[in-house]
């Protein structure tokens, strides 16, 4: 994985597979504290304590199509390479929160990549799932909530090709505004 937005695309697939209907993403940049946090929470079926323990093992997967599962181990590796760590909290029947903390200024900390595009791809390709994406930079904050977006669109689907590009633009513009 070359950047954090690719990790995001990857980890959210776990939430989707877990049957989540609401996925909350937090990207928190705190250069002053030398910390960057990327956290993904869902209301999917959750995992048992035993599964949580095994999930960072590349040879553990819930799938039957293949024998390895690299999403979480790679995410953990990226976090640790920057002096950070990965934490997973999960409750069966309630959901899972996966949080990766990165050393902000560490040379091996992956760049953000195109986060607005990643969020747009997730939203448009999973129209029945709701997403809340929060971007923080220092004190600034922007929240993109698909429940509000869907209301504003009044029945025009979020995966309508003419609409999709505007969603990305909206996220991207607001992220830039928060950062500047």
């Amino acid at each position: 994985m070359n950047d954090l937005s690719l990790h995001l695309l990857d980890i959210v697939q776990n939430s989707i597979t877990a049957g989540a209907t609401l996925i909350t993403i937090l990207l928190d940049e705190q250069p002053g504290d030398d910390r960057l946090t990327l956290s993904i929470s869902d209301n999917g079926r959750g995992m048992t304590a035993e599964q949580v323990q095994k999930v960072t093992d590349p040879y553990f997967t819930s799938r039957t199509t293949r024998k390895v599962g690299l999403g979480i181990p790679l995410f953990k590796q990226s976090a640790e390479a920057s002096g950070g760590h990965l934490d997973i909290q999960s409750t069966t029947g309630e959901g899972t929160t996966t949080t990766a903390v990165f050393g902000y200024s560490h040379l091996d900390r992956l760049p953000l990549g195109n986060m607005a595009n990643a969020v747009m791809l997730l939203v448009s390709s999973n129209p029945v799932i709701d997403f809340v994406y929060t971007y923080r930079y220092n004190e600034g904050e922007y929240v993109f909530d698909t429940r509000e977006v869907k209301e504003a669109l009044e029945g025009v689907p979020v995966n309508e090709p003419q609409i999709i590009k505007y969603l990305e633009e909206m996220i991207s513009e607001n992220m830039q505004a928060v950062k500047s």
Partner: protein, 129 residues
Amino acid sequence: MNKIKSLNDLRKIKQDVEQKMDLREKSDNPDRYVQIKVAMATCGIAAGAREVMNTLIEKIAQDKIDAVVTQTGCMGYCHAEPTVEVRKPGAEPVVFGHVDREKALAIIDKYIKTGELLEGIIPVNYQTA
């Protein structure tokens, strides 16, 4: 035109888009449009599925093709990622392997528009008979 930033901007755009197009109510009639699924598991993403997906979305918007692009997980063809499954109305799904930007465009221009098959079909799912 100004950049879209607020929900109000989005409402305005929505009205614009609504007027220009004839709404297809896609979610209610999945049999009437082409369904394109891009495999976006770890293997697919690492192989470049995101660029493929962006290309497909842009091309569909540009050419006004009656199609939706969604994601799917790993189908076990990790060796052939990025993979794209295309299901045309009334037809069996076809899975294309090793898709890049160029091939994504060819899938739309050739397979979706004219029905012409391309090289690189993963034969497991595909029967010619």
